[in-house]
């Protein structure tokens, strides 16, 4: 490499200053102007985080937000060259560092993940699936929308304003998030049994009858009429919502 250690060190000093606010002596710099670099860099990161996590931003106090945004940028080397994807690293940083805010707000980890998944699904690359729109919801093999994600939460962050969530809300919540043809992200509540139904469909197209059979074999039970009707109702709604996008004949 042609770069001298000295030049490298000055570049490193300036970059570190933008992240941490500590400015070592660099020859030739204009002290009054250099502060703008930290301001501009921080604003970009802060804006991206605010846009990705509007609910978290609304929940935390201004001071809490500023502290974690600063702390994240200071301690974590952002890896993704694509800035829209950087907020995922914010979530990962808080979880990995077992941040004290996750203890103060026990539902915060769920909330951040819920917000990130919505953005990620909205932005993610199109996934192709082979399907036809000609089919019968009750008899044809059903094709799952590949642009989906299964979610499980300890707190109902997808239902309830985070300000009103308390420790008493703790339970097991399951949901599916998917992107419809218009590009919007839709969340669907699931029971544990319906999570399995989606997982079966994720393996490949199956008809309602095949779903019943698979479920009955796995759990060694016989689905009663109510159980069968619940699955049919779910499949019909999922089709309307485009979580199931079509059929394979």
């Amino acid at each position: 490499m042609s770069l001298s250690e000295t030049t490298k060190a000055y570049q490193s000093d300036l970059a570190a200053y933008c992240r941490t606010g500590t400015l070592p002596a660099i020859p030739g710099i204009r002290q009054d102007n250099i502060t703008h670099y930290r301001r501009l860099v921080y604003n970009i990161v802060d804006d991206m985080l605010e846009n990705a996590y509007p609910l978290t931003y609304g929940l935390l106090s201004a001071k809490e937000w500023k502290t974690i945004a600063n702390e994240f940028f200071c301690n974590h080397p952002c890896q993704n060259p694509q800035v829209w994807s950087m907020p995922k690293e914010f979530y990962e940083y808080l979880v990995k560092s077992r941040h004290s805010l996750l203890i103060k707000y026990p539902f915060l980890q769920d909330l951040l993940w819920f917000e990130w998944i919505e953005l990620e699904l909205f932005m993610m690359e199109d996934k192709k699936a082979e399907y036809t729109t000609n089919g019968d919801i009750l008899f044809s093999r059903l094709v799952l929308n590949p642009e989906y994600q299964l979610l499980s939460f300890k707190y109902p962050v997808h239902h309830k304003n985070a300000r009103y969530i308390t420790i008493t809300d703790q339970s097991d919540y399951f949901a599916a998030a998917h992107r419809n043809k218009e590009g919007s992200v839709v969340f669907t509540d699931l029971s544990p049994a319906l999570v399995r139904i989606i997982e079966y469909l994720a393996e490949g197209p199956l008809s309602v009858k095949e779903l019943f059979e698979k479920f009955q074999t796995e759990y060694s039970i016989q689905l009663d009429n109510e159980g069968q009707r619940a699955i049919i109702r779910f499949v019909e709604t999922a089709y309307q919502q485009q979580l199931i996008i079509g059929f394979k004949n």
Binding site: M1, S2, L3, S4, T6, T7, K8, Y10, Q11, S12, L14, A15, A16, C18, R19, I26, P27, G28, I29, R30, D32, N33, I34, H36, Y37, L40, V41, I44, V45, M48, H76, P77, C78, Q79, N80, P81, Q82, V83, W84, M86, L121, F122, M123, M124, E125, D126, K127, E147, R179, E182, G183, S184
Partner: protein, 276 residues
């Protein structure tokens, strides 16, 4: 021809508006690589109507860190998929010590940095199998300079044998911030390498500092410098209007595009006349 930086704020208008009529659009590949869904569809529709120029943000050509080859490969595929006419990047660094900063920091004007940056531009050109255009960035403070700014820039361009993206507003901003004459700065550049021009607005934050915001209309002295530049270049070069924030009515954007086209046409006509 004059293009405009593609913004989601006016993506819809670009497809339908009778008012906004740029000759091409420009995007940063990093904002679109791996993106699908609603915005991808809008972008695809725009690509059916407009040629694409690209202007990267994250390659960090002036960084002490190693080049990100995986990212470069993605850029290459993106340029191919979108049939992008131009790929340009900044003479700056945005990643250091393995951390992206998502903004453009000034590289020290030193002889070793010249060598380093020129080598990297050559590698990028080889990998992408095309020449790239390098933009002179606006900066607010020198960093350990040993060479003059023009010496730094011209040597890099020459050693790398790359093209120059001349952002006229940046030259104006730098001239103001560092108290030099923007016109004589332009005179000292290898203008035969200019393949692309950027024009933008800025914000004067104090009596001694202008910040390059892309959030305001272009001011008259920058239009004057543009006219001067075109006359010196003496050939038709694609021009881009950069407007990233504070987006005005479409009429206002188009009037800036029209003004740029008119200045260019009349500047080139006058030269024709003189030479004929």
């Amino acid at each position: 021809m004059t293009g405009i930086g593609y913004r989601k704020d006016f993506a819809e208008e670009l497809l339908q508006s009778e008012i906004l009529k740029p000759s091409f659009i420009e995007v940063a590949p990093e904002n679109w690589i791996g993106v699908g869904g609603y915005w991808k569809k809008q972008f695809q529709k725009a690509l059916e109507q407009y040629p694409l120029f690209t202007h990267g943000l994250s390659l960090s050509i002036g960084s002490p860190d190693e080049l990100d080859y995986d990212f470069l490969y993605k850029v290459k595929s993106f340029l191919k998929e979108t049939s992008s006419a131009v790929y340009s990047e900044h003479l700056s660094y945005s990643k250091c010590d393995n951390a992206h900063l998502y903004d453009l920091l000034p590289v020290p004007f030193t002889a070793d940095a010249v060598k380093h940056v020129a080598e990297r531009i050559k590698i990028v050109q080889d990998m992408l199998e095309r020449k790239i255009a390098i933009e002179i960035v606006s900066y607010y403070s020198p960093v350990a300079p040993e060479l003059s700014e023009t010496e730094f820039i011209t040597t890099i361009l020459e050693e790398a044998d790359c093209e120059l993206l001349l952002d006229v507003n940046n030259v104006y901003v730098n001239g103001f911030n560092h108290q030099y004459d923007a016109k004589s700065f332009i005179d000292r550049l290898p203008l035969e390498r200019v393949s692309y021009i950027h024009m933008a607005g800025h914000e004067k934050v104090s009596d001694t500092l202008i910040i390059d915001t892309h959030g305001e209309a272009i001011i008259d002295p920058v239009y004057d410098l543009f006219e001067y530049t075109i006359k010196r270049i003496n050939r038709d070069v694609p021009v881009l209007l950069e407007r990233d924030f504070n987006i005005p009515e479409m009429e206002e954007l188009q009037s800036e595009i029209d003004r740029l086209n008119n200045i260019k046409q009349s500047a080139l006509k006058k030269i024709d006349h003189v030479f004929i």
